[in-house]
Symmetry: C3
């Protein structure tokens, strides 16, 4: 199934899918640039007047609750329903779920009311959403949720999604199988929005593999992780790593991705 992330990457660059993001203010530029670098086309639009029309020309929808307010939630619901009606994948990033009730409840509401395809979060966020004790400080997971492979499986079953739980090793599950992705670099934790970028890239991969969201989610994390490994080699710290991450995403070639993706 996940034997060929390079093939998905090649398909992505051929199709250049439009990925509609309704995301937080902190990472808009960065997720748009990550999307461009991997080979897709980003569009950011949040007005209730246009989100349904915009999602109508998109190949995937990425919802990210990092800086919420009321109008944005309404826009996410409108866009999400339109995405569901068209059958395009929806990726939800529940940034900071567990840190405040507002975030937890909004993430739950989006999961309830929309046909979310892939939930991409850290262990604390995902554990919160399946009702497991977890510690979330702001937007950082302080752990919790126990074994991350089991957490991914449980979240997938309980929430009816592909659960993509990122951490030192990522775990992606459809409720039955669990794929572990062991790519990445610790410098990812030193740059804000890298989790959000991984969600955006998950949307790009899902757009070209809508019928295999488990594979798409794992392959996206492998691609992002391999790019991070490349960027880290040339980096002197978080600033140069951040700039290098876009270079590495753009330079990532399918054969290299196949050779280095560590999905098991």
């Amino acid at each position: 199934m996940s034997e060929a992330p390079g093939q998905t990457l090649r398909a992505l660059r051929d199709a250049k899918p439009l990925v509609h993001n309704i995301t937080n203010y902190v990472v808009m530029n960065e997720t748009a640039n990550a999307t461009l670098a991997v080979g897709a086309l980003p569009v950011m639009a949040h007005a209730e007047d246009e989100v349904e029309e915009m999602v109508g020309i998109a190949g995937a929808l990425v919802l990210n609750i990092g800086t919420l307010s009321e109008h944005w939630i309404e826009a996410m619901l409108l866009a999400g329903r339109a995405a569901g009606a068209r059958g395009i994948p929806i990726v939800l990033d529940p940034v900071g779920a567990g840190a405040t009730r507002y975030r937890t409840e909004t993430a739950k509401r989006l999961l309830d009311e929309l046909d979310v395809t892939i939930l991409r979060g850290n262990a604390g966020e995902v554990a919160t959403l399946v009702g497991v004790e977890a510690e979330v400080r702001g937007v950082e997971s302080m752990g919790g949720g126990g074994d991350p492979a089991e957490l991914a499986r449980e979240a997938a079953r309980a929430l009816g999604v592909i659960a993509s739980v990122t951490g030192p090793v990522d775990h992606v599950s459809d409720g039955e199988r669990v794929l572990a992705v062991a790519n990445g670099h610790e410098l990812l934790a030193a740059v804000t929005g890298t989790g959000c970028m991984s969600s955006a890239i998950t949307g790009c991969f899902a757009a070209v593999r809508p019928d295999e969201p488990l594979a798409a989610a794992a392959e996206a994390l492998a691609a992002f992780g391999v790019a991070a490994e490349d960027a880290a080699r040339a980096a002197s710290g978080p600033g140069s790593f951040h700039a290098g991450l876009y270079d590495a995403l753009a330079a990532l070639d399918p054969a290299t991705l196949d050779a280095r993706a560590n999905i098991s």
Copy 2:
């Protein structure tokens, strides 16, 4: 007319005009940094309570509809009327016009109600606004509008603006003359917001050459394009190109700009 973009750049750095941007969330930081790097002072302000006062101390106003919502449109109208009353140049960037009705109609409304000096967009966006068939995917032009020189001339006539249509070669027209600007680099398309940056820099140049907006628009694109050529030489991909673009804008000297500007 456009024989001396270096002179305008020199004037810009001497005057350090304040350029008021009401722009989208994705590119606020990047357009502010591009404005600073070329030698002007950016200010971002969108509250209806202050935009008229802010534009009252500015040398140009840049309106960008990349992430619209109702209050922002009202603020653009208030600021635009105040700019018109003061006679300072208004640059409009109709990001994504053609992708959704909301964007198309908002761009048309701003053109109707305000005395827009320069319209800076890609071929798809500008074609949409003059009623020519075009394909716009999100915020990307997929072409359309036919011959870009004719599109610029027609847009300038139909809309009563200086039309600045960017692409592999840029075309700027006042409805009579058409200037072609053949500077730039393909890496510009790999970084989000470079179109928005070119609009912001157009505002900087227009601020110091308010009576010659055709020349200002062409010179701004030449300056941005030459800086992009310099940044591309040292770049390993979109991330290092992006960081290098600010270095190159700041390092651009008037004599180099005169020597390398390819305006015809």
Copy 3:
């Protein structure tokens, strides 16, 4: 008192305090990354529904009025009262006070209604808030306020805060003592949001030294200034300086900071 900024930096990295920022759209990513690079955890949240809860788990609150609108002011007041009730430090950055009445009045209102610990601004902004004639162009201080050491002392007395007035040399005062901080580099003025970053880092330092805000404010500026000196050495212009600033903040070690901090 300020003999050991390295000790505060060490404490900061051990404690990794969560710093809640309600800040402007232009610098959200950059202030979050500066906060991470120095060793703290940033969180950006502005919804009235969650700011009190979020500040309840934070070690400091940073308020920045760079892109105001009504809901944001309400959120700042709610968060600020909750911070005051918990006794955690509040840093206020009055971006553009003096440029428009809206900004000046909002900054004054926040100072009146909240127990602001540290006011971090440029000379023009701070002078405006103590009623001294100053010229502020957009968000840039054109000088004013006379002797900056006296301005800091006067602002501290008049406003009941630690006044942290940044410029070529920074001056920090509690109304009695005035500390001058002579670190930094002129490239800081070439990148947007570096003032906002210094406010964010002031929040990080204040979070681990809440009982000594005068020292914390001066040490934060020294740390940021030393990092800027390091970043400038390797920079080719504002873009590479900007990326290098995060590298330098992350690489800054306590002994180096103690050796090079120029606080008198």
